[in-house]
Symmetry: none
Subunit: 199 residues, 4 copies
Amino acid sequence: MKQPLHRRQPTPGNPRVQRTRNRVLAVARELLPQVGPSGLTYALLAERADVTRQTLYRHWPTRAALLFDLVLEGPDLGTYPQPGNDVRDVATAWLKSLRAGVSVPAVRTAALAVTAQADHDPDSARALVRISEDRYTGFNQLLEPSGIQISEDEFTLLYGPVLARLFLDRGQVTDAFIDAVVTQWLTTLQHADTPRDFQ
Amino acid sequence: MKQPLHRRQPTPGNPRVQRTRNRVLAVARELLPQVGPSGLTYALLAERADVTRQTLYRHWPTRAALLFDLVLEGPDLGTYPQPGNDVRDVATAWLKSLRAGVSVPAVRTAALAVTAQADHDPDSARALVRISEDRYTGFNQLLEPSGIQISEDEFTLLYGPVLARLFLDRGQVTDAFIDAVVTQWLTTLQHADTPRDFQ
Amino acid sequence: MKQPLHRRQPTPGNPRVQRTRNRVLAVARELLPQVGPSGLTYALLAERADVTRQTLYRHWPTRAALLFDLVLEGPDLGTYPQPGNDVRDVATAWLKSLRAGVSVPAVRTAALAVTAQADHDPDSARALVRISEDRYTGFNQLLEPSGIQISEDEFTLLYGPVLARLFLDRGQVTDAFIDAVVTQWLTTLQHADTPRDFQ
Amino acid sequence: MKQPLHRRQPTPGNPRVQRTRNRVLAVARELLPQVGPSGLTYALLAERADVTRQTLYRHWPTRAALLFDLVLEGPDLGTYPQPGNDVRDVATAWLKSLRAGVSVPAVRTAALAVTAQADHDPDSARALVRISEDRYTGFNQLLEPSGIQISEDEFTLLYGPVLARLFLDRGQVTDAFIDAVVTQWLTTLQHADTPRDFQ
DNA sequence: TTATAAACGAGACGGTACGTCTTGTCTTATG
DNA sequence: CATAAGACAAGACGTACCGTCTCGTTTATAA
């Protein structure tokens, strides 16, 4: 739990630095689902990535920093949802994209690890909040063509059931389930007066 | 990650054993929120509980086993929801009880830790599923006077937003938010035909 | 190294006590050469001899005590040397008997273990001296028919090379080597005046 | 008894390594006679030498390895015997040097410990044999000016009584005793034909 | 093209925790 | 009521990982 000394991190511009960084992250992504969050030690990662432990510390002074990068720089999923004016279509596409993202093992494991330690690690907590907000903002951007913007509470009503099913129930998220979520969620939007914040 | 040898655990009947067990769990509950899941080492716990590490291993051969006990034998919350025939009242009371339970720091931390390692530890995964099912069954029992029974999908629609708000958004769950969740959820129930499973 | 509490030892007369004692010693004799002196733990011995560790502690409060018994109550070798008036014959027979005794693995191992800790364990030192004196006295008794009695120094000159060869060189003690030792030793006796002590 | 993994040992050239190594050996030499062979735990040694246990394991993966170093790198005794052409003088001087060497408590204790476990530890056995052979070779080198070379059996006849007296009888080795040993030993040499091997 | 700064490899080290083992004592239940 | 079964404290074992600190060597950028 001791905070490591904050040394100067490698300059991101340097091509050698990028090479090292990308190689390590790739290996980490491959390794994480195999060995689990607690098994992804710097010792193992250094050995597999053909790098010195020292190099890892230079790039990611904290294990949390490494996990952030794994979550944030998840592999491109290609099917990023497009903006649209049909709210149902946008919400459905977005939930499916969320489902896809969380299904990538490395991202999934890293995200859960960050969440678990967020209560006792301010950095992790900050990262988590930032990710949440990014998601929220991004979704509202997708909704712009429809002229509708939703509140944070409504946003939670949308994605909450999906993530709960995946992480907590450890069950499948079928297309039917997504449909049900969206259907229910739309009724709420229709019933709501403006402003629709539940304070 | 190596699975420790499964030695014979202390006989639960023995009063000496119970004394030790309770004392350790109490100390663990106190310690966990302070030091975080990774900080709750057997070394520290042994020292604080005035017990040998060996004794800890006898009682909980795996760290996961200890975490289970922390989650399952959470402190009594007193306000356990009562069965009733008003679905809205039952659901609201149940969500508030869930909120209360997850607000106990030790339970909260332990639950998150178990969740995080469930992907790579079958024991944790099993425990998680069992907890989920217990919650589901318990809720339906509360609903019995109303003559209504809900599906697992509907159950997820109910509690998903609340836990997502707590764990992922790391935001507050206000009474108003709970009301909104329940209200939306009730519309789904009313719209649904029988059977209401979303397959 | 802590000196164990000295509890009351079992009464040697009790047949049950003897049964236990003999069984344990037999198992220990079998075990010792297999696992080595440091591997002969009370835990292992108790398990193999179907006895509680407590019982072992009652019989031999100290590990050294157990080793003594193993050395002193070595198995009967049958060919114990007979007294005689031919000094060469007696000495040769005695050396061969010594060689035989030390070749019993359990005795050999136990004796070496006792020797090694004699410097730091007064009990072991005392036991060692006693064994030495017994051997010395016994040998002189064998010599009585010949009318010759030897000094301790002369005794050491006789058996010293044999034990050195066995324990330190870790080489074979052939009959020819024993003959050479005895021959050389006899010249010393003949040259010596009376008293033949080298002070 | 399980053979510890043989990891790479520190590079002997490194001055930092030598510093550590020498400091530890010095402390061990001081400690060994005080606490005995079984009391010289890595835990104690690490504490006293202001070194981590891990460092000890890096340098001496086996306790036996440490003991070897203690025996082999015994402190210089200064009075190492000189070659000569008077066999009696050389033998006497060599025995006195042997007596001196074995009187150094640390060497004495370490040597006995190695001997005791030689039966069950091949490494110790090998080390013991090597030490024996070194002594034998060294003695014959001292004898070179005299034109005489002795067999291993004759060598054992020389040093056997001295070490037996010291280790087994636990008695004093006086100058007179050494004289007696040498005198007897010389008669054997004179009587012997060439070659003087007792096969 | 060469200096000069950085990133990196190699590896020793102090710490801390792990999971296991043995020891000697003490407690509990049982026959 | 004595004894086995076994829980416990104490502490060593051998291992693993962490975070730091040299000290050389390689690589990239700037002079």
